[in-house]
């Protein structure tokens, strides 16, 4: 460095000194600005990001099934995707046709049953007195009685309901469309993007891409399978006990089951709450059976299906889920675990290479 004065001569017993100059190339500023621009664009469209993430997650969950269909039946990818997505939609449609009319009928009965059950809860030990003193049954009855007025007087309420239903349909359509096109075209797009980069990076990108896909793909597929088992189990428990809206509670529980740690509680709590409308004994029976099922799921099904793909401590798991939920709601909680697993897999790979002194893949 010609423009720097030489380092001061070392004192007696001191080692010699040298300069370490830190400089920044102007193009680094351009790259930094590009990152800011991309960040701004992404934050502009949170709904797009959420729906796209859900679609890609669904595609990853269905991809092993598509691969299996291609291998076993010998179909081309487009035909296999049509078959799998068609089967998925047919199953969802059959569920809707069979379960929704019954659920709508039951929904009208729930309004009449809930205040009666809450009155019964006055007799419960410990909490019964608090329910009685705070007049919770009266409040619920008032809420149900005033619901038409609430809808009539608040101008935006009716519009809000219509809008949320419309938004829900748009979201379902969007997620399905992204999932179908990701299944059909995702691998080709990934290869095209990779081919733009210099060839010496390809082996490295392939390796880390496969690693990420293996972790997230298996997690998505395993979680999806367990969610279906959970939905079936909760629906069966609900139907056996005569719980109102049993099929819908099953779907609700299955969806929440995708969220690790807290999802099981959310599904079970709804089942128990609605079972209570049939009587206290039914509610307690639902709680007991659900707890037994949950133990079976946690200790038998889950370790077999996803145990080998995601090895994260429960504390790290719940912390990630809570942070994800705070940042991005349901979708954040859903994606927190696989992202953490990818991070861990990449770090393990890096650590292994460092320990073994392996060079970069070429």
């Amino acid at each position: 460095m010609t423009d720097l004065p030489p380092p001061p001569p070392p004192a007696a017993g001191e080692p010699p000194a040298r300069h370490l100059v830190i400089d920044i190339a102007p193009r680094s500023v351009v790259f930094g600005l590009l990152v800011v621009v991309v960040y701004r664009l992404l934050t502009e469209i949170p709904a797009v990001l959420i729906r796209t993430s859900l679609g890609v997650f669904l595609a990853l969950a269905l991809d092993p099934v598509v691969d299996a269909v291609m291998r076993r039946i010998g179909l081309r990818r487009a035909a296999a995707v049509t078959l799998v997505v068609g089967g998925f939609l047919a199953g969802a449609g059959a569920f809707g046709v069979l379960a929704v009319p019954r659920a709508v009928n039951q929904l009208s009965q729930v309004g009449a049953q809930v205040p009666g059950v809450i009155s019964d809860l006055d007799d419960l030990p410990i909490v019964g007195r608090a329910i009685d003193e705070n007049g919770i049954d009266e409040r619920v009855r008032d809420f149900l009685d005033n619901l038409p007025d609430t809808l009539a007087t608040r101008d935006k309420a009716l519009q809000g309901i219509v809008q949320s239903t419309g938004d829900g349909l748009v979201t379902v359509f969007w997620v399905l469309l992204v999932a179908i096109t990701a299944l059909l075209d995702g691998p080709r797009l990934a290869h095209s993007l990779r081919d733009v980069l210099p060839e010496r990076f390809h082996a490295e990108l392939n390796h880390f891409g496969d690693l990420g896909y293996r972790v997230v793909g298996r997690y998505a597929a395993g979680t999806g399978f367990i969610a279906i088992v959970n939905a079936a189990a909760v629906t069966t428990i609900g139907l056996a006990l005569g719980t109102p809206l049993a099929p819908l509670v099953g779907v609700w529980s299955g969806l929440w089951n995708i969220v690790p740690q807290i999802g099981g509680f959310m599904g079970g709590a709804t089942l128990v709450a609605l079972s209570l409308s049939k009587g206290l004994g039914t509610g307690l029976a639902a709680a007991a059976i659900f707890l037994v099922y949950q133990q079976f799921e946690n200790h038998v099904i889950q370790p077999v299906i996803t145990g080998r793909t995601i090895k994260i401590s429960p504390l790290a798991n719940i912390t990630a889920v809570l942070a994800g939920a705070a940042a991005g709601g349901f979708v954040g909680a859903l994606l927190a675990n696989p992202l953490l697993a990818i991070g861990k897999a990449f770090f393990s790979e890096y650590q292994q290479r460092t320990e073994q002194g392996l060079p970069r893949r070429r």
Binding site: P15, R18, S28, L177, L184
Partner: protein, 380 residues
Amino acid sequence: MQGNAERVIIVVRPRAILLVVALVLVALGFLVIAEAASEVAQRVLVAGVLACLLRPLTLRLARRMPLGVAAVLTVGVVLAGFALVTAVEIRDLVNETNRLKVDVPARIEELRLDLEPDHPVRRWIEESRVEPRVREWLGQLPARVVLGTDNPAEGASRVTGALLVTILTMFTITRGHQTVLGGLGLIGHQRLRGSVERIVRAAYQGGTSYTLRTLVLAVASGVVAGLAAQVLEVPAPSVLGLWAGMWSLIPVLGLVIGYLPVIGLAAAEQRSAGVTALAVLVVWLGLAALARRRWIARHGVDVSALLLTLSVMGGLHVGRATGAMVGVFLASAFGGALAEARRLNLTGELGRGLDELFTLPPAEPARPKPVLPPGQARAT
């Protein structure tokens, strides 16, 4: 300190500090401006895309007249076409809305009278004043469809925005080319500039060609749906045609969803009419798929269905029909750019440019040692 240890004095150059501060300030400034001017940025983007789409026709006209006149003529023709479509749509929509204004309240009243006096749905219809509200909503429908809002002030603002986009489009058609070339000239690295120029050209050509052909196919889909509705005596055929044409921009399922109202309304009138509408959809699906493969993909650019879906849905979310068109253009332009970048990478041109850009320049060369004559060196 141990025996062979070395002391390191860290020196941060003033230029590095200034650059970091500048980056932070520029990033903050960008975020503030982006927050305030996102609507303007959207209009500039729309104008840019429209200019790209209209430029081929303008250049053809410019062989016989000055470029500015050609640009005005092209934009004028497009505006006239848009006004014609809107006039037809409004006439159809107003007629159908008037019909619905009578039919829907009558159906609600019929439903109310069919129910028991204490039935919750009847109570809700009465207490929530569903019938007058629905009538009012239907009255606002034409304005909502044409202007996207039933608020007059907001509608006026949108008309002003459309005028701004028109003026910007004409400017971009006449001056956009030089502006892009000037921007590319700012890239100092010669090899990289050459690569970026080729990529930008491929993006423009691919995006324009693919989008124009896709729009032509969408218009054809809309015309087929409208004609089918007209022949099968389904209400509001032109509105249904417009609806089907817009949905056909969305890949994979868009065309099917766009035709569903035609099939549903035809089936509601007569079952055989529904079957005929379904048959029309199936035949048109086959023809549209053939056109995409033989005409669009071969003469335009091979666009990823996933990318197109994300882009069109994102565009619809941000800017409705115009946003969807911009989404098609951006996805196809990205497809064209990607294909060119892959070609350049195969020849090694892009890779070398990127390598030279990403690799830091070599440090100052070490001072050459003085070369001494052999005899002198030996003596030393």
